[in-house]
């Protein structure tokens, strides 16, 4: 049986791991390669590395880091952050990344998705969507949640699928950093709307939240950062917990 995936996410700036709380305050959570290896050994199913570097110089450090990660870990990983062209993606995949995620640049230029899917295959293109709920509407944001756009979550996710992404990574900005649980309702709607896998992100605080996101939210995978980085939830404990709740996991 295909298992539900647990995905630690590492935000990278200038070669170091950081984690934004509500996308603002950054705390250093260690060396990316060491963290990645530790997660792989603990049974993480995949890893995501997001480059939040501001400068060109820091971006070069990231490309170098991708190679180091690929050398050391034996599970799949996705890289994202600042990708805006086919030319940006090729060196990352050549360095050993399995997938790339696009966010702001795809909102600005949706045909980028078609181009990437055609050049590299749908299976390695992830569309990351950050959205915030206003009244009853989920509005897509870009640039790490700073900029509000005209796009709405469900229409944009569907368009992404039609343009050829292989997976949707949905982050609820209302839930991110709160540790109060994932955004269940929009996840259910995404599950019903899409035929590609959905990764849920934002709000993980307890092991029960992960059980909920799979059983109630129908997510294919769940992504979290600080609960893993700061040892609040250990992946082997989490997987045992999920297994005891009849959720298929790789143990």
């Amino acid at each position: 049986m295909l298992t539900k995936r647990i995905i630690p996410c590492l935000d990278i700036k200038d070669g170091r791991t950081v984690k934004g709380v509500n996308f603002v305050n950054l705390r250093d959570a260690g060396d990316p390669v060491a963290l990645a290896s530790a997660y792989a050994d603990q049974g993480a199913d995949e890893l995501v590395f997001l480059d939040i570097s501001a400068t060109q110089e820091q971006r070069k450090t990231f490309a170098h880091l991708v190679k180091e990660i690929a050398r050391h870990i034996n599970i799949p990983f996705t890289v994202g952050g600042g990708i805006s062209s086919v030319a940006d993606v090729a060196p990352l995949l050549e360095a050993g990344a399995d997938k790339v995620s696009v966010n702001s640049s795809a909102v600005r230029n949706p045909t980028l998705i078609d181009d990437l899917a055609k050049a590299f295959g749908s299976q390695c293109i992830v569309l990351a969507i950050d959205a915030r709920k206003f009244h009853n509407t989920w509005i897509v944001h870009t640039h790490g949640g700073k900029n509000l756009t005209e796009k709405k979550l469900f229409a944009w996710a569907k368009e992404g699928q039609e343009r050829g992404v292989g997976e949707i990574l949905f982050t609820s900005m209302n839930h991110d950093g709160t540790k109060n649980g994932f955004a269940i309702d929009p996840l259910v709607k995404l599950h019903e709307l899409l035929t590609i896998p959905v990764i849920a992100s934002g709000g993980a605080g307890s092991m029960g939240h992960f059980a909920d996101v799979f059983t109630l939210g129908k997510a294919d995978a769940a992504l979290a950062a600080s609960v893993f980085h700061f040892g609040e939830i250990r992946i082997p404990d989490l997987k045992t917990f999920l297994k005891n709740h009849a959720i298929p996991v790789r143990l």
């Binding site: 034996n74 295959g121 035929t195 896998p197």
Partner: protein, 194 residues
């Protein structure tokens, strides 16, 4: 022992090379025909789309080279699909080592396509002996090879399909051993110690 990792426009050559390096295996990445023919083992990786990849192999005359190899050859993911006769992916005639047609998964309720993630091997027999029944390995694919007389391990996703196959000196896996943690490493070792 000379191990060759076939160089062509596949997306996972680097990942496979890192996996071999982690196992401490000496290998060479090449598309040089004589070099491939004289190898003890050949690994035929693959991530990408069937028709463009077959066109590339033909242009480099690697299609007939692969088909006629006598030493153990391991096809991975798209590599396995290209070893079949025909792929529904853009209606592509393939190498024809396995007389099978590669089909597309149909998305269904609770079954997303691509089939992406860790799934279990069932009824494993034959060549990867060190891998227990029900081991988890990592899959990413939208097309599959139906179960057939060459199937040596099954996986289930909407229907049972071939997770691994063998015919003579040709070995193939649909999953990514280079990304399948310890189980994947054991499978690569099984092939390399044939």
């Amino acid at each position: 022992m000379k191990t060759i990792l076939l160089k062509y426009n596949a997306g996972n050559i680097q990942s496979v090379s890192y996996a071999l390096a982690r196992l401490g295996v000496a290998f060479e990445i090449t598309d040089d025909i004589e070099n491939i023919q004289s190898a003890d083992k050949v690994i035929f990786p693959g991530v990408g789309e069937a028709s463009t990849t077959m066109a590339y192999l033909k242009e480099k005359k690697l299609d007939s080279v692969i088909r006629e190899l006598k030493q153990p050859v391991l096809g991975i993911c798209l590599g396995m699909q290209l070893m079949c006769r025909y792929s529904e992916e853009n209606n592509t005639p393939c190498l024809g080592i396995f007389d099978e047609t590669v089909k597309r998964f149909e998305a269904a309720k609770d079954y997303k396509v691509p089939h992406m993630g860790w799934n279990q091997l069932i009824s494993t027999d034959g060549w990867f002996k060190s891998v227990p029944e029900r081991s988890y390995v990592y899959f990413v694919h939208s097309y599959y090879v139906p179960v057939n007389k060459f199937t040596t391990a099954l996986c289930e996703y909407t229907i049972p399909f071939s997770a691994a196959m063998k015919k003579g000196n040709f070995y193939a896996v649909q999953f990514h051993p280079e990304k399948s943690a310890q189980a994947g490493e054991n499978i690569l070792k099984s092939f390399l110690s044939l």
